[in-house]
Every structure is written in structure tokens, then in C-alpha cells.
Amino acid sequence: MCHCGLNISGVVDVEKVADYASNLQGVVISRHYQYMCSEPGQRMIRDDIRTHKLNRIIIAACSPRMHEETFRKAATEAGLNPYLVEIVNLREHVSWPHAEEPDEATAKAISLVRIGVAHVKLLKPLKKKKVSVEKSVLVVGGGIAGIQASLDLANAGLKVYLVEKTPSIGGRMAQLDKTFPTLDCSACILTPKMVDVSKNQNVVLFTNSEIKSVAGFVGNYDVTVQKNPRFVEEAKCVGCELCTKACPVKVPNRFDENLSGTRAISIYSPYAVPKVAAISPNYCLRLKTKNKTVCGKCEEACEAKAINFEQEPETVRLRVGSVVVAVGSGVFDASKMREFGYGRFQNVISNIEFERISNASGPTTGKILNPRSGKAPNSLVFVQCVGSRDKRFNEYCCRVGCMVSLKQAVLAREKLGKDVNIYICYNDLRAFGKGYEEFYQRARLMGINFVAGIPSDIRSAIDGSLYFDVFESGTNKLVELHADLVVLANCLVACEDTEKIGKLFHVLRSADGFLLEAHPKLRPLECSTPGIFLAGTCQSPKDIPDTVSQASGAAAKVMDLLSKGEIELEPLKAIVDEDLCSGCRICETLCPFMAIETKSRRKKGAEELTAKVVEAMCQGCGLCGAACPTGAISIQQYSDCQVLAQVEAALVETSHHGGTVR
């Protein structure tokens, strides 16, 4: 029994539990110690296994997700099969939830230990299986996270397939003007990496492409990628943009957040990689009408003869050992928050729109102009926490909103001069990163006014300018602010792709919609599905430094996984008793991991169907075992008789304070 400092022993009477356990049938020795996971604690386990020739051990401590591996290793070192170790969770299941009721907690601990003893007696020694792995990686998403992970992996000698949905890599970061807290130009630090990744011999780039299906298991995933047609031959296009000049169809420019227009055939961004045009089939006159005589101006203009209206979607099958998911995030749609008038007033804009307006490659060539009047604003207000820290929309803090607004306020001060009034309405200003607090100071010294209070609503005056009341809590005054331009600090939200990706790769999502890591502290880069890793804002909102760190971390994790050329698989899988299996195939339809196949065999001359578990894909979830009508399929260590023994032990009559010994 582990005290876990005071985490367990502060609530549970460990001595009493240990004493109870020592009287249970089959128990040779029972001990309690302050930190079982520490070296002295592990040594105690090893010594006891050797001296008392123990053939089973139970550790009553924290969650098995935390230290099961640690104790299995300790047992192995002492010569015991690691699968003969049972963990009883006395921390997450007892002392933490029942901190207010120590007596009941102790009684529950006693019951759980008794159940554990009943189970451990029936455990069977198991062996890990080894499988070989494919030394190649799929990276989903070509933003800065995907680019960084691809570069790291390619430089380590692994084959990388980088798949991006839009016609160019670069992602969100390509849209930004400058980056906090150093005010580096975003494009200047990103575009060299975009070029690097496209030139790297080990990287195969798929732009305008999507993942269609995923099968297989860690080390051996089979992935189908669909290359959507650009209607322009990538090999022939030279990126001269003559086609764009010839195209008569005006369409909103996605890269500019629809603040400017482009043509139905265009290059995604000024620094697109690959610099190849693409036709958007929803707008192109010929593709929409499917009439070969319509328009065709781009075809006439193209000197390289790259336009191909006949292009079809192309599917590519890939076999990869591991996957890095870096699909990024979306930006909150502020029109859902009616009181701020986004969507109703043209001069209420979002922070990502401000980035495009402030960006030299954007719709105003970097001049900060009011989209309504086309003039430079005299007074600018930033409103914080739009869509985040708000139970109506997203409860989380978006982590970047404060710094983005500080940066944009500083950029506005630099570009518009010192006579312009700039206000930031905030409730808590969070400048938590390296150099961030210093940046906040810099903003204050530049005469940016900080208003401690959020407006209730934003209104438009007759001349189109905006005004609103806000109660400033620092001065206890109700103030009225007039502004030509209001910038909303919209939060980052899980994009619609996370749902799709979650389903394809069996990645769970947390309540906020972002993809879920295996453990928030100790396994933040990997998913609970083995071989799938997370990088960037698809896991949680984060800024560029954190995204790049996570991408490099995920890449290192992939190298760790694939470096040996083979991996060991957990043996806690489903097994089929072929004699009992009736071949009803219920398990096959239920299995969420596609780990059950049917095989036919000859028995007494007749052909019979039986279920077969693909061990490498089985995650040991137990769904098949629960559903099997004949009891033919069960999970190792959790067969019916092993579970029923636990149930029986749980139902032994107990007095309120402690249990009776059978």
C-alpha cells in the first residue's frame, strides 16, 4: 500500500487496510510505505518477491494509468511476469473523491483490496508480442505545426507524407502580420520553412488533398489520401498568374478572410507553396455549367498549357508507421454574440481580419484602414474574451487573445502614430509567456489605454462610428468610448475537421471539441490510440512558440516509436474460443477498431465461420466480450470467471468500518 505522501494516507487509514489485507487468504505479506513508486519503494517490492518467492503482487496506490508500467518493470526485474501485477486505485477512486468521509473511504479501500486479491489470483502470465514497423510518417495539416514536425522527421531520415487540405501549405501563421512578443514578420520566418519542407527529399507534399480512410494499427497504418482536382497540372504550372488576370469570375479571397476579392482561378496566397494555381469548381463558369464551350479564358491565357478541365480526384494509398495530426483550429464566429454587432456593423472586425488588414500582402497593403469608410481610424478599441471564457460559447481561455490584442495595439500605434486613441477593454490580461509581460509593459509605455471592464453592447451612431458605455473598475467610473474601429479578440475554436479526423483516427475529443491527449501532463503529445500524435492548436488553443515546441516534441515521439524498426504490443487483447464461436459476426460489427475478422475453417467436412482477432489492432476495450452471445470471445485477464470472482469478492458482507475476513 502506498501512502502517496498524504494523498492517500491523509484520508484512508492505510495501516488498517494493510492489516486487513494481511489476513486475506493467500496473502503472504502486506506492507505500506510512503512512496511506493520511489526507488526504495520499488526495491521493497523486488526484495519481497525474491525473499518470499511471491507469484502475484497487488499495489494499492494511484491510477494504473499513472504507474502501472513502473510497477510492472519492478516485478520483471525481480523475475515475476509483469502481467501478474494488479493495481488497486486508492487515490483517484478513493482518497480524492471521498476526502470528506475518511471512515467510508477506508471501508471502500478495504473492499477494493479484497476485490484486487480475488482478481490477482486468477491472472495469467502473458507475453508482449513484437511487430515490425513501417519507417514512414503521415503528417495531417500543413500549418506551422505540420511543417515543423515534417522537417524534424525528414531530417531524421524518415519518409514523410504531408497532407494539406487547402491548395498551399502555411496555415494560419501565413495569414498573420507580425508575431508577438518579438514582432518578427510572420511570413519572413515561416516562408523559408515552407520552401524547405517542399524541397526536402524525404517529404512528399499533398496539397488540396484530404484523408479518406485509415486502417491498420500502430507501425502499420494504411491510409488513403484523395488529391482533389486543381484543374491545373502541378508539373506544368509556372505560377505566372496570367490565368488569374484573364479570369472573369470574381470570388471572395479566403486567404484574406473574404476582405478582398480574387478570381475563380488563382494562387492561394502571395507566398503559396507550391506556387500553382487552382480553379475553384464552385465558381468557375465552365466547371459549373459542365459545358465545354463556355468561357475557357484561362486556358487561352496559359502559355504553359497547364489548365486541365478534365482532372479527376486521384486516390493515393500510403503505408505509414505513425501519424502526426496537426489540423489546427478555427476562429470563433463573433456574429453569434449579437451584442457586439459583428456582421451588422462593418467597422466591427475580428482579430484575424485585423491581421490581414495590417499585413503588407493583405487587402490594404498593410495600411490600417476602416473597412466601412476606407479611412485610417482615429480611435481604435479592442474588446477581449469574445467567445472564450464564456459559458454561452466556450468555457476555456483562448490563451492567445490577450497577446494578440496587445500586439495589434502596438502595431496600430506604430502605423497610425501617437495621436490615435487606442483602448483595450479587458477583464483579466494574461501575459504569461517568455517576454510577454515585458511586451505588456512596452504597450503601456506606448500610450495604449487599458480599460478594466467589458462593454455590455456596441452601438452605431448616425455617422456610422461606434460608441458604447463601459464601467471602468480601476476608477469606478462609467465611461463612454467612441471608436471608428472595434477589433474583437475572437478565440480559437476546434475546427470542423477535428470531428472528422477524430473519427478517422479514433482520436477522442475533450468537452471543448479539441482532440484529446492521452494524459494532460505526462502524455500530452500522444493520443490514446497508439501511434497517433498531436501537434498544435488541434489539441488546445496555443500560440506559435507552444505549437512549434509541441510539433518538435511529437516528431521526437514518432522517432522514438519507429527507431527500433519493431515495437512491442500490449497483450491485453480479445481472444476467441473457436469451439464456442457460432460465427454470428456481432463482434465484427461492434468493434470500433476494426480488429475482428471472420475466417472460415473446415470442421468435420462442413465449412464454419469463426471470429478472428487482429491482435495488433485490438485495443482491449471489451465491447466484443460483453456482446458475444455464446461467451466465446473474452479479454485477457478479464474473462467472465476473472470478473465474476471480483464481483463475488465485492459482495462479501462487510461491517461499516472495515470488512469481514472469509
Binding site: 451584442e339 474574451c385 471564457r389 464564456d390 459559458k391 454561452r392 477583464n427 483579466d428 478594466a452 471592464g453 467589458i454 462593454p455 455590455s456 453592447d457 458604447f468 458605455d469 463601459v470 464601467f471 473598475s473 462609467l478
Partner: protein, 171 residues
């Protein structure tokens, strides 16, 4: 309690706070992080100096008695903007109504217009008295001249039940 208001030497009253939390069914409606959106948009702030965020914070600190006996809780215009726009689903409105109920229970002086409204409900069944209006042509009209039917006073059984409920409230 270890907190003291040095302006008035007042200390929070944990018993009243507990009572208040029971009325509000926990701290959900007091879950305020002081974004001050409620006060920025409060209808009663400009003329009557009601600051909903202050009420939230004071109840959280435990200064319930002071609030219950203050006049400020009677200034709320019950426009409900604060509920609609609160990012934390807290509700100064519900807190204010709970404080008003507490004030009535403690027999703190209730402002005159509220008492008038009560007696009016007893007499006529209406919260506001029926008023005469002046038309554009400067004619003064009442219900009779406009051909509207007479309003009936509430039934005696309602009045009895109302009085009984009031008496039960006051131990």
C-alpha cells in the same frame, strides 16, 4: 471570518451568507469573475448607481446583511440584460431578488412604492394604477370614455389567500 471592511468596521456574517447560498442553490449565480459587463450595461446605473458586479462580489465576501438593509437593491429595473450577457451564467438579478426577499423577511423597511404596489394589487388586482391619458387633440380619456370594460377587483378569496401568505412570511 478574517475579512474586515475598514471603511465601516463591518465583518461578513457567515450565517446570513449560508442562508443566502441556500436560497440561490449554491454559488452558480454568484460565479462572477468581474468582467463588469453587467454594470457596463446596467439600466439602473446611470441614475441610481446600481453596480451589479459589486453586489455579486459583496455576497461572495459575505456582506449579505449590509446589502439586505441597503436601498440599492430596490433600484434594479429588472431589465434582465445582466443575465442575458453574463459570460459566466451568473445572475445579479436573481441575487438581487433573493436579497429583497431576505429584506422582507427581516422586516427591513421596504421602499414606499413597493408597499403601494402591494396594496394596489390587493385593491384592484393590478400592479400599476389605471391612468388617464391625454390624446393628441388634448382630450383626456379614461377607460369609460374609450368604451373599454371596467376592471374587476380581485376576488375576496384571492385577497384572503394573499393576506394569509403575507402573514405566514412574517413570523
Amino acid at each position: 471570518m478574517s475579512l474586515t471592511d475598514l471603511m465601516s468596521r463591518a465583518k461578513p456574517n457567515p450565517v446570513s451568507q449560508k442562508n443566502m447560498l441556500a436560497r440561490l442553490r449554491g454559488r452558480g449565480l454568484l460565479n462572477c469573475f468581474l468582467c463588469i459587463k453587467c454594470t457596463s450595461g446596467c439600466t439602473a446605473l446611470k441614475l441610481l448607481e446600481l453596480k451589479p458586479h459589486e453586489i455579486e462580489k459583496l455576497v461572495n465576501f459575505g456582506f449579505v446583511d449590509e446589502l439586505a438593509s441597503s436601498d440599492i437593491i430596490w433600484t434594479c429595473a429588472t431589465c434582465l440584460k445582466c443575465i442575458q450577457r453574463c459570460p459566466q451564467k451568473a445572475s445579479p438579478y436573481h441575487v438581487i431578488i433573493a436579497l429583497r426577499n431576505l429584506a422582507v423577511e427581516k422586516e427591513v423597511r421596504v421602499p414606499e412604492p413597493y408597499m403601494k404596489a402591494v396594496s394596489l394589487i390587493l385593491e384592484s388586482g393590478l400592479a400599476e394604477p389605471i391612468q388617464k391619458v391625454t390624446s393628441k387633440k388634448m382630450e383626456v380619456c379614461d377607460r369609460e370614455s374609450l368604451g373599454l370594460r371596467k376592471t374587476n377587483p380581485p376576488k375576496e378569496s384571492f385577497q384572503a389567500a394573499f393576506m394569509k401568505a403575507l402573514e405566514e412570511k412574517q413570523p
